[in-house]
């Protein structure tokens, strides 16, 4: 399965090595993982995440179809729950025969992920979850019921 959700921090080396070993003999020319690491800033001890799986799965499947049309393939891993500073909560990766396709796809995929994936982020401050409202993006059609 190309989309995996993990409780807590991601094991970066295990995941990126495992994906690489899955694809290395399949004649792709480029493998680009993007690894997101929680930054120690604004006094947080980490981040915490809620995920709504059904819509995340649909969103990911649509991107996988899009990648397939260009001969590429996507992987993604994300954390649920608490992720301490300096550990990883998010890894996305693309493989493609062509370098340029891979470079464009990892950019577009990560940017759309930020804008569209149904995942909610909380700062961990003094052991409490504080919704990161200021850094969040309203989804398409927001405000329908107001």
């Amino acid at each position: 399965m190309a989309l995996e959700l993990h409780d807590g921090s991601l094991h970066v080396e295990d995941i990126t090595n495992r994906w690489f070993n899955e694809i290395k003999d399949k004649n792709y020319g480029a493998y680009i993982p993007f690894i997101g690491i929680v930054r120690d800033e604004k006094g947080i001890s980490g981040l915490s995440f809620d995920i709504y799986d059904p819509i995340l799965n649909k969103w990911f499947s649509a991107w996988q179809e899009k990648a397939k049309k260009e001969g590429a393939y996507l992987f993604m891993a994300h954390s649920r729950g608490d992720v301490p500073n300096h550990t990883s909560s998010y890894i996305a990766a693309v493989v493609s025969p062509q370098r340029k396709v891979a470079l464009k796809l990892i950019n577009d995929f990560v940017e759309d992920f930020k804008a569209s994936a149904p995942i909610w982020k909380y700062d961990l401050i003094d052991g409490k979850r504080v919704y990161a409202k200021q850094r969040s993006t309203a989804l398409k059609g927001a405000g329908l019921l107001k």
Binding site: K58, L139, L145
Partner: protein
């Protein structure tokens, strides 16, 4: 009855509602002061597809989800 889920930071228990369209849901929520500020920024999915019209028909057993602004990664 249709089910309404309040996702992520909305952090409320799901409820069951007897409605014909999202218009009915909007009316039902009109008096909920606490919810109003969230509704301005929440998107709505019916059976896990985002919808953009209040005229969207709701059947028994449909699942309606309210999705606050997102920030993955």
């Amino acid at each position: 009855m249709a089910k309404v889920e309040f996702l992520g930071p909305l952090n409320r228990e799901s409820i069951e509602v007897d409605i014909k369209s999202l218009n009915d849901l909007k009316e039902m929520f009109a008096d909920d002061k606490e919810l109003q500020e969230w509704l301005e920024i929440c998107a709505v999915a019916v059976n896990d597809t985002l919808v953009c019209s209040l005229d969207t028909k709701i059947e028994a057993n449909d699942k309606i989800s309210l999705l606050p602004p997102v920030c993955g990664g």
